[in-house]
């Protein structure tokens, strides 16, 4: 039922939505909970374990009961809180955890079985037989107990991520937050004001009191308009600050307004990282319930929430409302309801000697001991000294006191501090560097106090930012009194709920203590209190107080469990925004990418790069056919492949050569201009880091190439060696991988092709390099070979890459060759025994790959000392070898292990392993590289390859890794 007037809803803007298949009407400004209550719907969910009927307990993000599934289809959102969900036209919401329906739920039988289902039930019951747990018990329990679920289908809805920086982040836009933002913004600070609600105002939106002579909500509008008009202020509504991280970094989740999503197709949620120099936490306080028998009946709500429904949403919470509390909040609810003409049938105050001016049945020194009803509240029992009384009521407003929202102050490890006067935990001093707490979050519970505390926090922040604060008068407001006596649980029979969301009762907490789960962290895990979406926002303090009572420890000694991010649930989709599908990793494309795609080449992912696997031609059914043809083509005529993905590092300076001597095992000071040399690079621990060629382009100018895989690592390493070990050397390094497109031209007809393209003789010896030009375009020509054929690499500025690649491939095809891909490239290098990171995988030394001789004797280099350590060389090492099947054509599989012919294939007998394998068209057989213990001395021996996964065994003959053209004439001449 809705009051005829008032509230912060737009009565000119009715909306229609559905809940469990039925249509209802609400107004813009309603939440799903307020709109359903206005339609007299109270039953909104079933509890987690006992399937008890539940209605909303709160009016905010801490809601434990009214969890619903929003939307239908792939993008359905489970466990949305009806208390924060904005209603809009076409909203579809469904209740959860019930079957067949919310009103009649067969699993409600769990509630009758409750005596057997207490804390620890699962642990004690489902123990035997062990194998039943995964197959039977767990699936059954998960089916019976639980909340909503995702659709299991990829959603088209988008999330986003964003970053922001500010001088001051104000968390919470209630009276304290608004004043803090105002004080700092007027002093000139860049301010972000974040609030999880749909509009600024905080508690002022639910309270009836005045600020500066006008209704609090009006004052909030006025201040937020002033703030919104300032260039240095950003107001972020619908934004929950969810986590605090080091050095002023905050995580926040922004939900887009439903209308914005529909109109602009905006991201439904945006995950923010906000970096703030200062922060004011003005997150307010959360009211807590009192535990008594059946206190979870729909219609039992927190006193502040009842005020919110009445004042903000103009919802009549019931026909006959009882109010129960241990502090002044309860009185305020009774007063506001009476002002609205609601019949308040009782005000029950646990404080002896409490007084009221209100004209209503008043029970000081009394408690509510039981709620009656099933799917809705029907009556309450009031117990006072010497007598008790049952009253008809369809709504009970309860207040057990207020808990300051200390959560964020604990995210860096600080503990909150118990305040016996306020009967609450307060933020510890200096809990988060750069963060001040203001308003109710700091234990200030009056509006006047909040305004003042916020203002001072804003002024202090401005001063800390070296800004000049501007003094101004603090608006006048109610300066109410907050008086409270401790009241956690009303003693008596039956079940009294502590944690509504997890169905944890007073008895469960006491039982945990009895069974010696006395630490609050153990109690939490044994009972599941404080888990799930609300993370114990309603129940933590009550639970630990009940525990403290059971263990006879005090509340401060018992302490709280650890508060961790996120403050409110954050969907994985929001945290991973942009990272689905192709967004998971950046894509690096070569300049020849489009040409390769046009020629039908499938792409392989090589790190972040995409490289062509092979270039299929008509009549080729498998990649092997294309690969064999391409490898033959390079051996017989000419092939073109893009090698731009190799790392290219430009090194210049008077000390460049000396520097190369230090990072490579072999000498570079002796390299002449116009020459290229193969270099081997070690890590300081003596193992191989990378290999590649370095060309001397000018007197003090070198160009290093690295493998594709290690390009980043090598650049970082070179910078480390230069900056950290020899900063006195005069040189500069920079990656030019992206700036140059480079293509290998390989095969007996490579020279012919290039002479045609460059229109002149090449005049370049093996391992030479020189500048060339193609019309106006300057290019670099290197005579190097990774195929064992006469080979060149030609490099042009990247913008000419696509054009040059097309031209080279066209010319190659005219000469009987063409483009070749990664598969053929791999075949060619295996035939030649050239290594890649399949071989130099981080655990091999120069000795292992047969390059110990490349470590120069007469100079130091990175890794030289360690490479000489015992154990890194000698016959016991696994050494690089070639492998061929004894029986021609048999499979050799990469990753398989090697054993002596007669030995049992177990790890103790392991002799080595296979690293690379291919079918060699040139040799007409399977060919592989691998590492074998003392392998260089075992050429000609037969070993047994065993691949346990596929059950493949092959006898292999050990050989030199260099299988094709051992003299190297094809490459050099």
């Amino acid at each position: 039922m809705r009051f005829a007037q008032g509230g912060l809803i737009d009565r000119e803007a009715p909306v229609e939505f559905s809940f469990d298949g039925r249509s209802y009407r609400g107004f813009a400004g309603d939440t799903l909970a307020s709109a359903l209550l206005a339609n007299d719907i109270r039953l909104m969910g079933r509890s987690f374990k006992y399937h008890r009927p539940r209605g909303p307990l709160t009016a905010g993000s801490e809601e434990p009961n009214a969890l619903v599934t929003l939307g239908e289809g792939p993008g359905q959102e489970p466990n949305a809180r009806a208390t924060t969900c904005e209603v809009h036209d076409g909203l579809v919401a469904r209740s959860q955890n019930r079957w067949p329906g919310l009103g009649f739920d067969l699993l409600g039988v769990n509630d009758w079985a409750a005596p057997f289902l207490g804390a620890g039930f699962y642990y004690k019951t489902f123990m035997w037989p062990k194998s039943f747990w995964e197959r039977l018990y767990e699936p059954l329990i998960r089916r019976a107990a639980g909340l909503g679920s995702l659709s299991g289908v990829a959603s088209a809805e988008t999330c986003d991520k964003a970053f922001a920086h500010c001088d001051l982040l104000v968390i919470g836009a209630g009276p304290a937050g608004l004043m803090a933002a105002l004080a700092a913004a007027r002093a000139g600070a860049d301010v972000i004001l974040a609030d999880e609600d749909t509009r600024p105002g905080g508690a002022l939106l639910r309270e009836s009191g005045e600020v500066a002579g006008q209704p609090g909500a009006h004052w909030a509008v006025q201040v937020s308009e002033e703030l919104a008009g300032m260039d240095n202020v950003r107001i972020m509504c619908r934004t929950s600050v969810t986590g605090v991280y080091d050095h002023g970094t905050y995580a926040a989740l922004e939900r887009a307004a439903p209308a914005t999503v529909r109109r602009e197709g905006a991201a439904t949620e945006t995950f923010w990282r906000i970096v703030a120099r200062r922060t004011v936490l003005a997150a307010g306080a959360l009211e807590r319930p009192v535990a008594f028998r059946d206190n979870d009946r729909p219609g039992v709500m927190l006193a502040g929430a009842v005020r919110a429904y009445a004042n903000r949403w103009a919802v009549r919470p019931g026909r006959a409302v009882a109010v129960f509390g241990n502090n002044d909040s309860a009185h305020r609810t009774a007063r506001d309801l009476m002002a609205r003409g609601v019949h308040v049938c009782a005000l029950v105050d646990a404080r002896h000697g409490a007084r009221t001016d209100l004209d209503l049945p008043f029970f000081p020194g009394a408690v509510v001991s039981r709620a009656h009803g099933g799917r809705r509240l029907e009556a309450v029992d009031i117990r006072m000294p010497g007598r008790s009384l049952r009253l008809r009521a369809d709504c009970l407003a309860i207040s057990g006191g207020w808990n300051p929202s200390v959560h964020l102050t604990c995210h860096l490890g600080a503990r909150p501090v118990w305040d016996a006067d306020l009967v609450a935990f307060l933020p510890g001093a200096g809990a988060v560097p750069g963060l001040d707490v203001a308003g109710a979050a700091s234990g200030v519970f009056s509006t006047a106090g909040c305004l003042e505390s916020g203002w001072h926090a804003g002024m202090a922040a401005a001063r800390a930012l070296d800004l000049k604060p501007v003094e101004a008068a603090i608006p006048k407001a109610e300066d109410g009194h907050y008086d409270i006596v401790p009241l956690w649980a009303v003693p008596g029979k039956g079940r009294a709920w502590v944690d509504f969301q997890n169905d944890v009762t007073v008895k469960d907490v006491s039982q945990a203590a009895q069974e010696n789960f006395r630490s609050v962290e153990h109690m939490k895990r044994y009972t599941t209190q404080g888990m799930a979406p609300d993370q114990g926002k309603n129940s933590n303090v009550v639970a630990l107080a009940v525990l403290a009572d059971a263990t006879r420890d005090g509340i401060p000694e018992t302490g709280t469990t650890t508060f961790r991010p996120p403050f409110t649930p954050v969907s994985i989709a929001a945290m991973g925004a942009g990272a689905q599908g192709m967004g998971f990793a950046p894509r690096r494309l070569t300049t020849s990418h489009r040409v390769s795609l046009r020629r039908g080449a499938p792409m392989l992912e090589v790190g972040l790069w995409y490289r062509p696997s092979h270039y299929p031609r008509v009549g080729e059914a498998t990649w092997r056919e294309s690969c064999d043809r391409e490898a033959r083509m390079v051996r017989e005529s000419v092939g073109i492949t893009d090698v731009s993905t190799l790392g290219k590092i430009d090194i210049q300076g008077p000390d460049a050569a000396r520097f190369l001597d230090f990072v490579y095992t072999n000498r570079f000071t002796t390299l002449a201009e116009g020459r290229v040399r193969y270099g081997l690079m070690l890590r300081e621990d003596g193992h191989v880091m990378d290999d590649g060629t370095t060309a001397r382009l000018g007197p003090e100018h070198y160009l290093m190439t690295t493998t594709t895989a290690a390009a980043g690592q090598v650049l970082r390493h070179l910078e480390f060696v230069h900056q950290c070990l020899c900063p006195h050397m005069d040189l500069r390094l920079i990656s030019v991988t992206e700036q140059w497109a480079q293509f290998a031209v390989a095969g007996p007809r490579a020279s012919a092709l290039l002479e045609e393209v460059l229109q002149g003789p090449l005049d370049l010896p093996f391992m030479g390099c020189r500048a060339v030009s193609m019309g106006p375009v300057g290019a670099r020509l290197f005579r190097i070979s990774f195929s064992g054929e006469q080979g060149y690499e030609i490099a042009v500025p990247s913008r000419y890459g696509e054009g040059l690649f097309s031209r080279l491939v066209d010319r190659a095809e005219a000469l009987g060759g063409g483009a070749y891909g990664m598969e053929a490239l791999n075949v060619l290098r295996i035939e030649k025994g050239f290594i890649t990171h399949a071989e130099i995988h981080g655990r091999v030394t120069a000795f292992d790959i047969g390059m110990a001789g490349m470590i120069s004797k007469d100079k130091d280099c990175i890794g030289k000392a360690a490479a000489a350590r015992p154990g890194l060389l000698g016959a016991e090492r696994e050494q690089l070898v070639g492998l061929r099947p004894v029986k021609s054509g048999a499979a050799i599989l990469a990753g398989a292990h090697l054993f002596e012919e007669q030995a049992e294939a177990i790890s103790r007998h392991d002799q080595g392993y296979v690293t690379s394998t291919c079918h060699s068209p040139a040799l007409g057989d399977t060919l592989a590289l691998g590492f074998l213990r003392n392998g260089r001395a075992r050429h000609g021996e037969v070993v047994r390859m065993v691949e346990h996964l596929q059950g493949v065994e092959t006898l292999c003959r050990v050989s030199d890794p260099l299988a094709f053209d051992p003299a190297g004439g094809r490459m050099r001449d």
Partner: protein, 89 residues
């Protein structure tokens, strides 16, 4: 976590590559004994409290930095260019 690069200013730690203890700056002379090399390559303290670490501003200016910080409070006490440390000592 944020690190103030002496060249670029305060940046999120995602821009930096972490290497480990700044011990790596003190490379032994080539003829040092095996114990010295072993200590340099492998032996690291795991302090609760002050550490001196090497970080590389990989997604920034490319500078190697020596960051002095506290593993308990997470406070960063100072950031210097590694090349300056070496030049100075």
């Amino acid at each position: 976590m944020r690190i103030t690069c002496p060249i670029c200013g305060a940046r999120d730690r995602r821009e930096f590559y972490y290497m480990g203890a700044a011990v790596a700056l003190d490379r032994p002379v080539p003829e040092a004994d095996a114990a010295a090399w072993n200590a340099y390559i492998h032996e690291r303290d795991n302090p609760a409290g002050l550490t001196r670490d090497l970080w590389y501003h990989e997604a920034g200016c490319g500078a190697w930095l020596v960051v002095t910080r506290d593993t308990i409070s997470h406070e960063v006490h100072g950031v210097t260019l590694a090349s300056d440390m070496r030049a100075g000592g």
